[in-house]
């Protein structure tokens, strides 16, 4: 695959979306009229580098602990998924031998 393939896939998707998607105006109007709970501390139209730094600085410490635990759980989960089939295969090989 070359980058050209990605470009072609993108153009094809773009062409499909031209006529394929539309705004749900009724839903949109009701959303913006009840815009009460929004995060107003950060201006999301600023550059990504700036906004992501701001988000990191303003998020509570509790969130960092939760995130660390989630990462750990994900690592353990994928390690178990990798280890399980290997162990099963090895066991089968011993039985056959």
């Amino acid at each position: 695959m070359k980058f050209d393939d990605l470009e072609r896939a993108w153009q094809e998707c773009d062409r499909m979306l031209d006529a394929g998607i539309h705004l749900n105006t009724r839903r949109l109007r009701s959303c913006i009229r009840e815009d009460g709970e929004l995060d107003r501390e950060i201006d999301y139209s600023a550059p990504i580098h700036v906004v992501q730094k701001q988000i990191k600085q303003t998020r509570p410490r509790k969130w960092a602990i939760v995130q660390a635990l989630e990462d750990l759980a994900e690592t353990l989960h994928s390690a178990l998924l990798r280890a399980f089939p290997n162990r099963m295969l090895r066991r089968n090989r011993v039985h056959r031998g």
């Binding site: 695959m1 749900n24 990504i48 992501q52 989630e70």
Partner: protein, 186 residues
């Protein structure tokens, strides 16, 4: 239209103008939301959050800037926060049939769009969220200057990253095809 004129507009007119701008650039929001999520529910949440953040910032929209550039910044910031798990997901939970942007197509067309998006996700999932942002904007034919403005990095940095991304995508795909070939030989 100047900002002073926008300020003097009645709320309904400003709302209409916002909707018109958004409608014109709905593909940006849809594509970013779909490429940073793995299911329709997450994608609908991102779309809604992008629209709300854009509406909230619309008063401060500077018309010397292209609306698409401004919208890219909001869409990518929201999507990256969501991707990193920093968005307030619990508040959202938008039913997919109530999404702000809907696919207006037959079942077969819907499947074709989903397949095409899946293909693009497959290519892009090996990139980190910032590299993905660069590729999305590059494929939408934005200049390095515009990409640099949205990311908050220099134009030369965008160029360097883009070359690295192209090499990386090409290398990973040739590795995959080598594996496939060797499996076929066996």
């Amino acid at each position: 239209m100047r900002m002073e004129q926008l300020d003097k507009m009645a709320p309904a007119t400003r709302e209409d103008r916002f909707l018109a701008f958004l409608d014109e650039h709905r593909k940006i929001v849809f594509k970013v939301a779909n490429l940073y999520s793995h299911n329709q529910a997450d994608s609908a949440d991102i779309v809604q959050e992008v629209v709300l953040q854009a509406w909230r910032s619309f008063d401060r929209y500077d018309d010397s800037r292209r609306f698409s550039t401004w919208l890219y910044a909001i869409a990518l910031n929201v999507a990256i926060s969501f991707y990193r798990g920093e968005a307030r997901r619990s508040r959202m939970l938008v039913p997919s049939d109530e999404s702000v942007i809907q696919i207006a197509a037959s079942q077969s067309q819907l499947q074709a769009v989903e397949d095409q998006l899946g293909l693009l996700r497959g290519y892009m999932d090996q990139l980190n969220e910032l590299d993905k942002a660069i590729v999305v904007m590059y494929l939408d034919e934005n200049s390095y200057r515009v990409i640099a403005e949205v990311l908050g990095i220099s134009e030369s940095n965008v160029g360097t990253r883009m070359n690295r991304i192209k090499r990386r995508l090409q290398r990973s795909c040739s590795d995959t095809s080598k594996k496939v070939n060797s499996n076929e030989i066996r």
